[in-house]
Amino acid sequence: MTYIPTPSADQTRSFPSTLSLFSYLLAGIFFGVVLVKSEAASWYRIQEMFRFQSFHMYGLIGSAVLTGMLSTWLLRRLKARALTGQTIHVQSKDPGLPRYVFGGLIFGLGWGLAGVCPGPVFTLLGSGLWAMLIVLLFALLGTWLYGVFRDRLPH
């Protein structure tokens, strides 16, 4: 009896690549708007957050995490597939501990100064704050420096 191969379950269906890339642009526009509207991109709000002077940012992050938890659990439960056809699979973070402690601390130090994490840097740039280009350029420098010293750092 001849064996007729069936397509593998994870074979990616064609989701036109231009359309696909455009969908990420739209998602980015949406998130950029949310970053501004939520005031997560506000230096004022970040300072307020790091001084525990309001519930706003904690409510924001907390409800975001809860929503994220619930929705990803649902996706896994429903064994949902991406529009590209693959079964949704969440990537695990790399193992280690020192990297998360030191890297996290260093990022946090930067976050508390200019009140920006990477997302807001792009968003604020778009809103016309050209000074954010300084933050971005030095962030690229910092990223490069990490690449240079990576092998000598504990992970």
Binding site: S20, L25, G28, I29, V34, V36, S38, E39, A40, R45, Q47, R51, Q53, S54, G59, L60, I61, V65, L66, T67, G68, M69, T72, A82, L83, T84, H89, K93, G96, L97, R99, V101, F102, G103, G104, L105, F107, G108, L109, G110, W111, G112, L113, A114, C117, P118, F122, L125, S127, L129, A131, M132, F138, A139, L141, G142, W144, L145, Y146, V148
Partner: protein
């Protein structure tokens, strides 16, 4: 009507929308929501071969989705932060406004105070550049920023992300309460 378009959203509306970014990107193409990776991709694109450590040698073209996402962030900022900018100052708590005074910063409409955008002051260059280097270095060393760890990592119940998030806040509390006042005085 304009008020509706320019007014900020309450946290219980915006928060869930942020959280929904995680499943949205998974559904669009099994992508992990995480913005700081774009800094790595930008380096991979811009660095000349001579100055390119192994960390930046990979096929960045596979991550074009994230670069498009970042481009979207810029456009979103244009839309919500400029076209429909909030004409009112942030509704900070009374204590927060007081702390600002201590830093020599006045609360005015806008997302970032004028005092931190005044490029005639050397200390502003110091704060912006230092913040940038720390954010760039720290996010790659730590393997993610708020979106990658605090939102995605915690949503997917990953312990490294909990460690990272706690560390973010430890760092932020230190710099906001001690380093920044030191620099601004």
């Amino acid at each position: 009507m304009t008020n509706l378009l320019t007014a900020p959203w309450p946290w219980y509306v915006a928060g869930p929308l942020i959280g929904l970014m995680v499943p949205l990107l998974l559904l669009l193409g099994n992508k992990t929501f995480g913005i700081s990776a774009n800094l790595r991709h930008a380096c991979a694109i811009l660095l000349p071969e001579a100055a390119k450590p192994g960390f930046f040698r990979y096929d960045w073209r596979k991550e074009r989705w994230n670069l498009m996402f970042a481009a979207g962030l810029v456009l979103g900022g244009l839309l919500a932060g400029l076209v429909f900018a909030n004409p009112e100052a942030t509704h900070l708590s009374g204590r927060a406004v007081q702390s600002l005074r201590g830093l020599g910063v006045t609360l005015r409409p806008g997302l970032v105070p004028q005092e931190l955008l005044d490029l005639r002051r050397p200390v502003v260059w110091l704060i912006l550049s230092l913040s940038g280097v720390l954010v760039g270095f720290g996010t790659r060393y730590g393997g993610g920023c708020t979106s990658g760890h605090a939102i995605t990592g915690l949503s997917t119940l990953q312990f490294p992300s909990l460690v990272a998030t706690v560390s973010f806040f430890a760092g932020g509390i230190l710099s906001a309460n001690f380093l920044l006042p030191l620099l601004l005085k």
